[in-house]
Amino acid sequence: MNRFLKRVCLLTFWSIAVFAGATFAEPFDLSKWSFPDLAGDEASLDRWQGKILALNFWATWCSPCLQEMPELVALQSAYGDKGLQFVGIAVETDASQVAMMAEKLSVNYPVLVDEDVALELASALGNSDAAMPFTVIFDRSGEVIFHRKGTVGFEEISALVEPLL
């Protein structure tokens, strides 16, 4: 490979590394984001600072989301008192529908309801096509340690989170 090509590759590699680092190495500023909860009160996402925060974007019309929820509920009850905090963000406009579904699934963590701003947050966290379910986990210092567009399971989140508790 000639030197020019080598330089281009190296440059590309470093740009990607820097970009990726820039996107996720710094703690994500959650204080700028707040959504109403099921009772209608605003909740800012930095309220759970210091905890291991797991944001789960979902919707009542999304069947994979409803299927994974029991696992999230199980995770919350297993690790909630050790510092894990799940927060559900329902990307919808009708809070009463969301409340019904949350009750049906015995959701044991706060659920916030918003459509437009929630989608902006999802986009800022790397999900620009509104794919759901979308889960992002922050460590205690606010850095993103996990993100997935798709369902998550009890075992894998357990394994990820246990060393940090």
Binding site: A59, T60, W61, C62, S63, P64, C65, L66, Q67, D129, A130, A131, M132, P133, K149, G150, T151
Partner: protein, 673 residues
């Protein structure tokens, strides 16, 4: 008419007018000029999509959604050049993730005097016309329903329309899909049947359903692979006490609401493919190209190059003979493809739900394919010479054997090509098989021709004869190198096998591979005339052995013994409840454990005994380190597996069984002397 065509990727689906338990239907928002109107979507027949206990109605694959657009009537005094149709379409497409979608479209149609045809887009017209053939026929307001308990009963006279009458009389299957949202429990499909001149429906209502006075839905009538939709509206008749009893089979299916997870099922008869009439020539051309591309697949390329190498060896042979070889090879490929096509068509005609690639759904086929490719790979690696034996069979003259050999190579090339077609050409070939028989046969013939074309070209063109490289060491090297793509294909097939039938089946197939290697070794010894009689016998025995270990799916009649993962808590609870318990400390790497499981524990006698005496079967899997299990083993005074502990009903003293088990040992341990 305008239509929106949705083409989600394989495995993804969009939703019907009534999406079911979850999901969002595709919504169209039209922006038209004043006086123009857009109608409702003419929905095709949806599929029932079941995922984890949730039932949705939607569509996989290409979905055509026509809508009638009516321009403003008469001369509304508007002078414009063209009729613009703007559409914003919103949909939800899901697989294991859901992605909401939105897109804007714009169509501009020129105005013309009434009766003139400006231009015709044949494709578009045909697609829309075909989609409209499945449009719902509205039967209006003639049905009645009542809900008693959570059972919904609906009745409609089959004489509601002539067409409905004839259709239902000849129906192969009937189904009912509700349009009223949140009324029925979708998990149990509605039972629909014809009795005493009526169409009758029985279904379960949702547990939390609000009472409703009108019910609308679609009755799907399947007849010879064609589905027709009838929209019915039913009014509540609270005084009606239905006297009908569903015929046998329906009653059972209503009671037995077992749905398996993760299946997307097309309920209604055979394919719902709308019968497009493709250009035959185009299909043939695509088939030909597909066949040509097949030559590049890792399964086929080695075989092809073998043939080219043989051609190179025969440089001195007459052009006529070379041409004959080429034709023989082509005949082999075409004949084999036609043979496969015939098998598929026969199976389809007898009602089997098959698409291309169905053969890969059988673990037996996958294993045999893997064997074949592995064996070929071994031959190409130089372990033994395949084909030398063929000439010795009978007293076939050199010329004839070459032609037969070429035919056989053509057939072989086709057979080894089939697993490689599935990943890349599965949809195309599935489509071909769904067409009328003559079209399918033509496509498969052109596939065969395409596959044979490179070799045929080399054989036919005289100039190629002299251009062929001189035989040399390169031929050997090339052959040996090309064994590797074959081995890679084996790996892929074994991966498919492992996913289909589990690690045990994989182990069996791998053992089969070892036996094949042994057979190859014996074969070579036979060719080198070593070991006298042992060699051919050994080959035969090894081959038979390889066939015997082919993993066969277990018969579903066997009662499977269900085990619960062991834990101290589970054991304590069971003992407190006075239950009898059988604890099996085992590990995957412990051969004694696995033998005992196969030979003693997982046998019908034990399964029956456990079931009828409510014995709890706890399995402590020590394959990976588990401190809890290690502790338990130590408590029982052991440091390794296997360990079998029996607790009789009502007792809490453990009884230890010997390391070598029989079903009798297990059962008698539970019985008090």
């Amino acid at each position: 008419m305008a239509a929106l065509i949705l083409e989600p990727e394989s495995g993804w689906h969009t939703y019907w007018e009534n999406p079911g338990d979850t999901g969002l239907p595709t919504r169209l928002t039209w922006r038209l000029m004043e006086g123009a109107h857009a109608g409702e979507i003419v929905w095709p027949v949806p599929e029932r999509i079941v995922v984890g206990g949730l039932v949705n109605f939607g569509f996989h694959g290409k979905t055509v959604l026509p809508v009638e657009i009516s321009p403003p009537k008469g001369d509304s005094g508007i002078r414009v050049e063209a009729f613009t149709i703007d559409l914003t379409a919103r949909w939800l497409v899901c697989e294991e993730v859901c992605i909401p979608g939105k897109a804007d479209f714009s169509l501009v149609l020129p105005w013309a005097k009434a009766g003139t045809v400006v231009s015709v887009d044949a494709d578009a017209s045909r697609i829309i016309a075909d989609a409209l053939m499945a449009r719902r026929v509205e039967l209006g307001d003639r049905a009645r329903f009542v809900v008693r308990g959570n059972a919904l009963s609906v009745a409609l006279s089959t004489a509601a329309s002539e067409e409905f009458l004839t259709d239902t009389q000849a129906a192969a299957s009937l189904a009912f899909l509700p349009l009223t949202p949140d009324a029925l429990a979708h998990a149990t499909p509605a039972s629909v049947w014809v009795q005493d001149g009526e169409l009758r429906i029985r279904a379960a209502t949702r547990v939390d359903a609000e009472p409703f006075e009108r019910l609308s839905g679609v009755v799907v009538v399947s007849n010879a692979g064609v589905n027709r939709q009838y929209q019915i509206e039913a009014e509540l008749d609270a005084s009606w006490v239905p006297q009908f009893t569903p015929p046998r089979g329906y009653e059972e299916s209503l009671a037995d609401a077992n749905l398996s997870d993760g299946t997307a099922s097309t309920l209604w008869g055979a394919s719902t493919d709308v019968n497009e009439n493709p250009s035959l020539l185009l299909m043939a051309i695509f088939g030909f190209l597909g066949g040509m591309i097949l030559n590049l697949m890792p399964c086929v390329f080695p075989v092809l190059s073998l043939k080219v190498v043989k051609l190179a060896e025969s440089r001195g042979v007459s052009p006529r003979h070379r041409r004959a070889t080429g034709f023989a090879y082509t005949a082999g490929t075409v004949a084999t493809f036609l043979g496969i096509a015939c098998i598929l068509l026969v199976l389809r005609a007898t009602g089997e739900q098959i698409g291309w690639g169905f053969q890969l759904q059988s673990p037996v086929f996958v294993t045999l394919m893997a064997y074949l490719l592995f064996f070929l790979g071994l031959s190409m690696s130089g372990m033994f010479e395949l084909g030398a034996g063929l000439t010795r069979v009978g007293n076939i003259s050199a010329d004839d054997s070459k032609l037969m050999g070429s035919f056989a190579t053509g057939a072989l090339a086709t057979i080894v090509a089939t697993p490689c077609t599935a990943p890349f050409m599965g949809t195309a070939m599935g489509f071909a098989v769904a067409q009328p028989p003559h079209i399918a046969l033509i496509v498969f013939t052109s596939l065969g021709l395409g596959l044979a074309s490179p070799f045929l070209a080399v054989a036919l063109i005289p100039a190629m004869g002299t251009r062929l490289p001189r035989p040399g060491v390169w031929m050997q090297t090339l052959k040996e190198v090309l064994a590797f793509p074959l081995f890679l294909t084996c790996v892929w097939l074994l991966w498919v096998l492992a996913r289909q039938a589990g690690p045990d089946a994989l182990a069996r197939a791998l053992i089969g591979g070892v036996l094949l290697g042994l057979a190859a070794w014996f074969y070579r010894a036979a060719q080198q005339r070593r070991m006298g009689r042992f060699a051919p016998i050994g080959t035969l025995l090894a081959l038979v052995g390889a066939l015997l270990v082919v993993p066969v799916p277990p018969s579903s009649e066997e009662k499977t013994l269900t085990s619960v993962a062991w834990s101290e808590a589970a054991l304590d609870t069971a003992l407190q409840d006075g239950r009898a318990v059988f604890v099996n400390f085992t590990a995957d790497w412990c051969i004694t454990c696995k033998v005992n499981e196969r030979a003693a524990i997982e046998r019908p006698r034990v399964a029956d005994y456990f079931l009828s005496n409510d014995v709890l079967y706890l399995k402590a899997d020590w394959s990976l380190s588990d401190p809890a299990i290690t502790r338990a083993l130590a408590e029982y005074g052991r440091s390794g597996v296997p360990l079998y502990v029996v607790f009789r009903a009502g007792e809490s003293e453990p009884i230890f069984l010997p390391q070598v088990l029989t079903p009798d040992t297990i059962v008698s341990a539970f019985q008090r002397p």
